[in-house]
Symmetry: C2
Amino acid sequence: MSSTSILPKVADPKASIAEERRAPSFPIRELTYWIDGGERTTRLKERIMLELERDPLWRVSDHPNLTLAETRERAMSKVRRLADLATSRPLEETMLRMSIISVVDPGFWTRFGVHFGLFFGALQGQATPSQLAYWMDKGAMSMQGITGCFGMTELGHGSNVAGLETTATFDEAADEFVVHSPTLTATKWWIGGAAHTASHCAVYAQLVVKGKCYGTKTFVVQLRDTSTFQLMPGVNIGDLGKKMGRDQIDNGWIRFTHVRIPRSHMLMKHTKVTRSGEVVEPALAQLAYGALIQGRVSMVSDSANVAKRALTIATRYASVRRQFSDGTPGAPETKLLDYPIHQHRLLPLMAQTFAMIFTAREVNANYQRLMGVLSELGSDAKGAAVDEAIKDLKETHATSAGLKAFCTWMCLNIIDQCRQSLGGHGYSAYTGLAQAYSDFAVHCTWEGDNTILTLQCGRYLVATALEARKGQPLPANLAYLKAALSKDGSVSTNSCKGSTPEHVSSLDMLKAAWSSVAANAIVNAVRDFEAGRAKGLSKDNAYEHSSASRLHAARMHTYTYLLHRFAAQVEQSPEALRPVLTLLAQLFGAHSAVQHSGEFLQSGFYSGSQIEALKSFVNHACIEVRKDAVPLTDAFGYTDYVINSPLGRYDGDVYEKYFELVTSLNPTKPIPYFDSLIKPLLERTNEIETGPELEIDQE
Amino acid sequence: MSSTSILPKVADPKASIAEERRAPSFPIRELTYWIDGGERTTRLKERIMLELERDPLWRVSDHPNLTLAETRERAMSKVRRLADLATSRPLEETMLRMSIISVVDPGFWTRFGVHFGLFFGALQGQATPSQLAYWMDKGAMSMQGITGCFGMTELGHGSNVAGLETTATFDEAADEFVVHSPTLTATKWWIGGAAHTASHCAVYAQLVVKGKCYGTKTFVVQLRDTSTFQLMPGVNIGDLGKKMGRDQIDNGWIRFTHVRIPRSHMLMKHTKVTRSGEVVEPALAQLAYGALIQGRVSMVSDSANVAKRALTIATRYASVRRQFSDGTPGAPETKLLDYPIHQHRLLPLMAQTFAMIFTAREVNANYQRLMGVLSELGSDAKGAAVDEAIKDLKETHATSAGLKAFCTWMCLNIIDQCRQSLGGHGYSAYTGLAQAYSDFAVHCTWEGDNTILTLQCGRYLVATALEARKGQPLPANLAYLKAALSKDGSVSTNSCKGSTPEHVSSLDMLKAAWSSVAANAIVNAVRDFEAGRAKGLSKDNAYEHSSASRLHAARMHTYTYLLHRFAAQVEQSPEALRPVLTLLAQLFGAHSAVQHSGEFLQSGFYSGSQIEALKSFVNHACIEVRKDAVPLTDAFGYTDYVINSPLGRYDGDVYEKYFELVTSLNPTKPIPYFDSLIKPLLERTNEIETGPELEIDQE
């Protein structure tokens, strides 16, 4: 039965990973350059990774063992180093450094980003030139004199900025605004940097002038005296303490009690308040939304970058870890990566990661181009160029909303799937993915809650379809709607003809399949919206009525968008890379289609047997991609320092290094409560008090 | 545009939740009794919850602010209290207390469970009567003299117990076993209680007698001197430090270097080693597996219990939290719970939770019955009763494997969806779901990695189908396979005829639909297995070959099982509860079917338009269940102490109590690093060293 004369053989992990690199199907270094956008960027990234690794301030392997107080202090100790580098080095290098830090040390990235991205970003986006000059002069860019935070969300109000309760009431006599928190729910909440770091805050408050409310505008309010950090009069601040993740950033709450600021502290690039209390609103309020998109666009890159790390850890470990033998006596156990089920767990996630990498690149480029156009136009421009830009902005706004939501959800799932694939070791704080999950999770909530963003995206899709029906041209990314809309709103019956795995899974076929299903989903959402209108619902309520199908339309559109961007990048890629990238793009499209097979069957694009053929293709693609799995993680180009997990080491020496890390961070000490708790437990005798025998019981 | 003369109105949260309780469609208290299994149990639970709440040892609201060292010490301080209660109070009460603690304080539950469940459980299940008496006499049950841990997993070996490297070699001359860790990967790893708590360990090691290996058996090894806690000779122990969650339990690693134990320390209920080194293996090794199932079965209940808490928090908060207004001037913002999309987020999870509640109850009862039968039979029994019991055990083993996997995944998803539904506040450590996620996540890995368990379940399904084809009777839970198998292995073309939402979503129709799809999935897995065999693969490799479809079959079977158990409980429920429970069961079945619509379309059970009708039913059911949403959470019967989240309070007073909790746990203190880090940052001047002017440059 279970008796055998031979004990299991243990394989050398370093040899196990080395054999994975023997014959990659593509030139690894060339893929790295292609992912990074050129050799120059790769070399710059490598320089930055080395600088971080060697700087003792940037030690990260001991993070799990720091207390909250130590975590925050460690983070603060790095702010100055980075502020100096940010002001002395080229912007491109700073951006690249931040993108690496967002993977290595995401909590610190937020600590730093609150000042540079949010506070200073608010000044850049919403201050007039003279206001910006004033704050720059005070040191607001380089943190010399001013540290800033961003006071938008409140205890009772998050995504709905229009519902904020904090007021900034104009006192004409004093030429001042009075900033006030009228209720408990008006307390500014989640304000990163407020608990410890910030001297000033960009406060979102309802502008009230002469008894009339003009909606939320932004006001700079000093929180603390910069030489003592004593709170300013009327400012009340508290610490929000422990969070799910990102404890490097000191989130706080702020209450304002009739705090007075000069009128000039309202940021007036868009809406202006004159000395006499006249409120001048901008002609093109929409142009102010451009800045909102930046955070979302950057989260697509961030999702890709974090997913790259998670997959590197999971894939390399799976090439080293062995479990169960195939029965050959004396043979080593089988590598996890050789199990079909493990390939199915990891390799579709690899394909998703590439989809996000390439989409992030295109979306970033589009965003930069659009911002260039907008900044050239200025906020008072008119004419066709402005109409065009606004249209473009709307589309980018909606697309980035959908991408932000589905890419952050996708990445969060990738982190957790990768963590689970490590088995028990995924539960250790020292293998890197537990904390990655906790740190990343907030991406699904901030900069617009994912569910709300998907609905915004869906609303845009419905509105665009309705306008297209009235003759408006479709934006390029929605060109696929054309066929569906041409037939009185009925859905295209476009369908796949062949039945072989090769035929159903060609990149062109998958693009057509996804376009067809996305068009179908949008048409269904339009139908639900119109059904609501037909019942007499208001436009807003009709949109509510169609929210389930709107969310679905946004999902289908976003997957379609990801596949098309991925495919476009594959077409432009160097020839040597094209086979493996094509396979990954097909795996992304086919696996996602199998996951949503109901949509494809309902739309009639694929039949049941074609779905079976797609599944066969997914099996085949997993087997093929598996051969390149470790080389693909090598191409991501992260050093062991950035990977920061003994299980994801380049050299595969996982057990030795994991053991070393755990033992060095947790040296053996006497058990602190042996005498006080354990010894008394072991030595106790349970003498139950029975009480004296009662006379009355003797009778 | 955005200007308005009226600021948003703030609604009273307590009034908001009170209105939810005005007209429940069912008697709340009666549902509580039904969920708990009777009024007596409810009252006992309430007594235990009150006792815990009032016992200062059991304060849990400050957990997020404890360091790792404090967390462990706090946990140890509770061990004695619970050990005393466990030995002095009835078993039923202890079990109930533990089930409440598994929700309130899951890390402590593990700290305690390692001794009572795993170590003492190993003695109960694997010791002979005289061995058990010996260890009982030493105080192994009540922790008077002995604290135990469970030494199964190793650094290089988790789920594959057969692959463990630790050896226990019989030294006949000394009548001793020598326990030894031959390699680094043989180091016992993840051993809960090893770092600080345990004096003894139940060690899994390869039994080696006269040069022959007999597979893994269990040996009791003393780790520490019980009066000093000094390590025993040859025992080397370290601390695994910080984990993703459950930091209350002190996991450690253990290395054995030629540690000698008496022969009688091998647990010999099943395999025996005589004085002369004869190894006597048991006739019915399978009967030993019964004990393995217990952990899995209890995780179905645990999933239900944890999900109840998560949904209570998310649902109550959604009835209080308001966001965006419907445009009516001066009206309060809309409750989250009134948004269709929020209903779609939470209420299908509510239905899943009820499915788990009722399934857990049936599975527990079946398990208890089976264990009773097995213990009556004894390990040397023979005949038809034994065959029957083994068959029953196999089925329970497979079913519980699938249930453990899909229920723990379901619950983990419920926790995270509920957390995300809280918006930013879900990211606070004080709102209860971030930690719940981290604590619960390990359930997907321990007691059998979920993916491996699903494959085991799938293998059983395939094997059973193959046997049924040869004429073996089908177990009751797989009776649905009969139709599919009767036609030479082709799939049943059973399908739904009507098209109205009522027709497609009746409970009987949904049960038939899921049975049909599960049968289909199993037949597909059989087909893939047989295709592998036809290609000449070994049985094991053919199973590998079919692992994707096997996993899928296990998922479909488990959902079907959940729906059938849920429906069976609904049928038996009191009349007053039946309408709401029926609706929830339908929502579970219909929503799950929509999520997997591809399967239903491919099997031909539902057509595309019937799937649309199912979606309509889901919309309708969400609207209906929404009316009872808060009363349903009330029926779960958790006190505010167990909920342990200001956002899930019974009275809805979320903002006041959240603010109080955060401020009381994080009192304002001077910023610890202002002088050392912030002031120098703000006051720095960036004087860049330019160096002296060089003479050579003057020319």
